[in-house]
Amino acid sequence: MNELLKINNLDVQFDTDEGRITAVENVSLSVKQGEVLGIVGESGSGKSVTAKAIMQLNPGNTIYNEDAEVIIDGENVIKFTSKEDLKKIRGGKVSMIFQEPMASFAPAIKIGDQMVEQLLLHKNIKKEEAKSISLDMLTRVGITDTEKRFNQYAFELSGGMRQRAMIAMALSTMPKLLLADEPTTALDVTIQAQVLKLMKDIIKEYKMGVIFITHDLGVIAQTADQIAVMYLGCVVEKGSVNEILKNPKHPYTKGLIAALPDVNNLDAPLKPIPGNIPSPLDRPTGCVFRTRCPHPTKEGKEGKIDMKLVEVEPGHWVDQCGAKCG
């Protein structure tokens, strides 16, 4: 019920000089109204590519599979090609906060002008109204001196301020769905806490659905309701935050949790997951994690078990191979 976003069987590939790279494989996810889905996974696991697929922001060399579905409000947006259709998702229904705050702002246009312009593009309102909404949003994200900031360029703001301005811009169109890609990675923990609190309040107030991408499990634990763990383009485990963090089943999820530095025991050595992530050019067949699995089953190790999520507890899904080796 009231599912805002549903992704079914999404594959994303890129044509490159060295051949075709599979960046995302058979990903299915959903987000309800008012729900925060956290996506975790290491660098290169396909988190950003998945989010960009929702807004059709992947570049020209991208190939989506025929039967992929990205359904927002009953419409399969992955088939959208016309400008009119794309306008409905970008900035209207869906807003994205990017990994690099500088990338969201045009360097030579003032912050305020960009916010106003974006609102005028997506809402049927007057310029003055757009300005007052923008100023209000800047205030709400905790920026003081909003009139002055409104007239500044992105590079003139500190990192934390820039990130908050970006969040204000993404929220100002009141999207139904917010895609936040590492929104707090560049911030120190005190500013991060400030920004997370404010995002949570606004999400609640407007009942937005949110995809929150990060590699920080602590941030996920404090922010998300649901969690999906990605490895090499695949979702290997998903479920409620409580369940996944307290009762992880997949060896990769367990490895991620074990690798967290323990601040209560500074003498404990750091425990990385052994081995290297394969290059996207040599993706393993069968279970994508098998080359690094600490206790693989015989069939799993030989790549004989196909990737497929199975439900091990109500609402807790694990890849079938990872569920067996433990």
């Binding site: 003081t144 301020m161 005190t190 963090l245």
Partner: protein, 330 residues
């Protein structure tokens, strides 16, 4: 012979800023009056909020930023280099001995060069090796120390994952056999598992190659695990320095306490006891007088409010230094 490899004495770095060509020139006080000593063979951590001056200080120590006042001394075995008073020739020598590992493993590696060429480039630029054979040998040696697959040296960087790319940039930084490494947010973009792996690698290489590190990060939990000593920066100033364990057990400065309390817990049910900070970070063009943190301090002491007590570190226990205003206000 000194125990220290680096002495930073009263260093300030200012940048000029002008809104437009008609307006008055202003100064950005990026780094103010910093004093630190980095022991030979240590892992020195530098944490602090975005814009507090960590990168600027790191670059000043590498001789890559102009130092506005004060000096930086590099104590080599046989001689001292004073970076504020250094000849071109000496600066060249120093560049071989002090290297930077870049923040972003994606942006730092040229996509059109093979991994071998990327690692070899500093050797060629600094004319360290005499011929191609010697270069190749050195590249292979350092690549295997950084646990890179030697068969992959002919590949281009885009075929590698974030963690592997970070190892490539570490190999590149280490190829000229430096003694001192500045690692600026070298693991921030990586997930926890790869972070742990890279940090273990840096730790092992420290012993093997006799390295000293300045490790810049905003992730306190990571810093605590690898660094011997940690300095906390806020708005251009170091507000506290202590051995890592001491800093975690016994933080004295209010900003340090706020930092430690804000590390997000992985337990979703754990009620957060974070000391909440509100308000904006003041501008580095116009920092507050007295304690620079006082405009955001949740419970400033009676003496702090006026901003009359000048910033300056005092030693509260062996090796544990705190800004004097905070040390005395409670």
């Amino acid at each position: 012979m000194s125990d220290n490899l680096i002495s930073v004495n009263n260093v300030s770095v200012n940048f000029d800023y002008q809104e437009n060509f008609l307006s008055k020139k202003q100064k950005i006080h990026a780094v103010q009056n910093i004093n630190i000593k980095i022991k030979k063979g240590s892992f020195f951590g530098l944490v602090g909020e975005s814009g507090s001056g960590k990168t600027t200080l790191g670059r000043a120590i590498l001789g890559a930023n102009k130092i506005s006042s004060g000096n930086v001394i590099f104590h080599d075995d046989d001689k001292d280099y004073d970076l504020t008073n250094i000849s071109k020739l000496e600066l060249k020598e120093y560049r071989k001995k002090a290297q930077l590992i870049f923040q972003d493993p994606y942006a730092a590696l040229s996509p059109r060069m093979t991994v071998r060429d990327i690692i070899a480039e500093p050797l060629e630029v600094m004319k360290i090796t005499k011929n191609k054979e010697e270069t190749d040998e050195r590249v292979r040696e350092i690549a295997s120390k950084c646990r890179l697959n030697l068969e992959h040296l002919r590949r281009f960087p885009h075929a590698f994952s974030g963690g592997q790319r970070q190892r490539i940039s570490i190999a590149r930084a280490l190829v000229s056999s430096p003694k001192f490494i500045v690692a600026d947010e070298s693991v921030a973009a990586l997930d926890v598992s790869i972070q742990a792996d890279i940090l273990n690698l840096l730790k092992n290489l420290r012993k093997e190659l006799n390295l000293t590190y300045l490790f810049i990060s905003h992730d306190l939990s990571v810093v605590a695990h690898v660094c011997d000593v940690v300095a906390v920066m806020y708005l251009g100033h170091i507000v506290e320095i202590a051995p890592s364990k001491e800093l975690f057990k016994n933080p004295r400065h209010t900003y340090t306490k706020a930092l430690l309390s804000s590390i997000p817990s992985i337990d979703p049910e754990k009620q957060s006891k974070a000391i909440e900070l509100t308000g904006e970070i003041p501008s580095a063009m116009n920092p507050p007088s007295g304690c620079v943190f006082r405009t955001r301090c949740p419970n400033p002491g009676h003496d702090c409010k006026g901003g009359d007590i000048e910033m300056g570190l005092i030693e509260v226990s062996p090796g544990h230094w705190v800004d004097q205003c905070c040390a005395s206000s409670k």
